[in-house]
Amino acid sequence: MAYGFSIGVIGLASLIAWAVQNYFSLVNIVMIFVLGVVCVAFFTGRGPSVLASLLASLSFGMIYVPPRFILTAEESQYLLTLSVMMGLSLLISGLTARWREKALEAASKQREQATLYRYTRELAAEPRPAQMAELIATRLADTWGGEVVLYQPGDGGKLAPVSAEAHEAVDGTRVGQVWQDSQWRGLDDSAGCVCAPLVGVAGAVAVAAFVEPDRERLRQGRELLEAMLTSGALALERARYGEEAEAARMHVEAERLRNSLLSAVSHDLRTPLAIIVGASSSLVEETAVLTPEARGQMTRVVYDEANRMRELVENLLDMARLESGPVTLNREWQAIEEIAGVVAKQMRPRIGARELKLAVPHDLPLLRFDSALIERVLVNLVENAAKYTLEGSRIVVSAQDGETELRVCVSDNGPGLGVATERVFNKFWRANPEGNTAGVGLGLSICRSIIEAHGGRIWAENRPEGGASFCFSLPREAGDNPGTLPTEAL
């Protein structure tokens, strides 16, 4: 194609020269051909440039130098013209060829840089070791073609491929050898895989096996390849340390919780137990001495304290269950007013001289949620409201239809919350740790776990008219609320 260009340009130059031959002298006409040759040399390589020089000389010599249209050997002075033109074209095409080479080289280097930047950025953004290993293998394959399998030591220290299928074409022993001495293998062979080590700060971290590789390409891009392998190794190391740090942190956190739990439980179980033992021992040992009223009172005390312990134990068990793994929700279509009604009935006897009012419209859209768990949330919220308000206070359970969610609130007209509206939902958080209010501080934390498992939010705020409001939202899924049915005739 370049040769065609070459011929074309010189042909054009000839035509132009022919057109202006009556206006310019030969000396100037030769310049047109020189220009043509330079043009070709600028845009193409050596071959076409040489062709252009030859054609230009021939054309000029034949057409313009007398005798015209005949090539004679005596025109030795035009040998000078030809040599000069040839020299010029070789020089210029040589220069432009080198310039083009440099430009291509620079562009290729820039691409390599870009690849490397993108690759290191991606590695930096991926915290999980498994995904990181996959990323490394994928990017290496993207850049050098073919398939790449990454091998890392698995459990027990044996090298294993990161993705499920170990490539049959990979020679396991070769991979093992590379792992041992961190040296490349296979690059100088003519067949088989090429295995390269990923070496980090603390030694070899993984081995990359290039299956059916383009060896030439690998050799040429060796620098970039080494850079990618090293980045990969460092990233894998970082990820592993990250995981270890996270595990350590969780261990510390678990310790802390366990200690909190033990201290909270020991206090909050011992107190009611002490009362129960005391009251019941009195009933057992001193029945004769007690008046019927006293006996009644003791019995009542045993009943109340036993219930208190039961609630605490139920909270603890719930907490353990919710924490022990992903919560499996038993989601069914529910009408929130049914659950609220059940909770109201259940809780009225338990909140003493407080008023419990329901403000739940009876035509709210149906929602899919776990009724037992949401019932628990409402029970805990009402219990909490009762615990922190005085006798005679009012507790209101209300529900509202939002566009994308259902919002339920348990509000009271008590003293309200302190500043800690966020922290109340933390485990073992107590408003008044040294006070007499029973409970370990788990109730709200359980509510949060349950609501979050449903994909909702839970929050607490102070009401402008005084008192606190604990609200949660349950998201409405798309296609929710088959709230109406075709009407039937009566």
Partner: protein, 228 residues
Amino acid sequence: MSSDLIRVLSIEDEPRLSQMLQTTLNAHGYSVLTAATAAAGLQMVERETVDLILLDLGLPDRDGVELIPELRQRSEAQIIVVSARTQEMEKIAALDAGAEDYLTKPFSVGELMARLRVLLRRRQDAAVTLYQNEALSIDLGNRRVSLDDEVVHLTPTEFKLLAVLAAQAGRVVTHAHIMKEVWGRHHEDDTHYLRIYMRQLRHKLEKDPTEPRYLLTEPGVGYRLSAE
């Protein structure tokens, strides 16, 4: 009411709980037999006639739910299952397998007695055709429902739903059972229909639909038409 004592069989492996049940039931005039394992329970049922069975779902030797069909084969006694709070699924399975009602541990004596009373009343009225409770009156034979002596108009589905609950008045009816009876076998999972119709029923029959007096919700299990 027959003059014989009502005989209750308690199949419960926790000895102290068993003791407590026995004492309480005796105090209320019931005659109590006890068994501590499923095997012993089955033997007891074969040897003796009992009127009611209190079955703990957490027995050591057998799955309580599996036991129910076998108990029913050997006896006409009605079964109340006793389960722990976390045994939701087992509870529902037990009800669907033929248990009449359930109690959740820990339960109060009042709850226990209420359940027993309901079941015993049923024994006497073989087929329930009339339900009467305070202001609500349901005549299944004549398909008439009235509130404070004023007739309430229900759609055919609403009536069918109410009838299913009334036929088992005082006892819990599971979602699955209701769905099957009212909408047919293929609609057992269409709980949203049930919710909507229960809402409509409450709306028509209850003074305060949010805190119903008659149509009680048993969350996660089913519904119960109150018998008291």
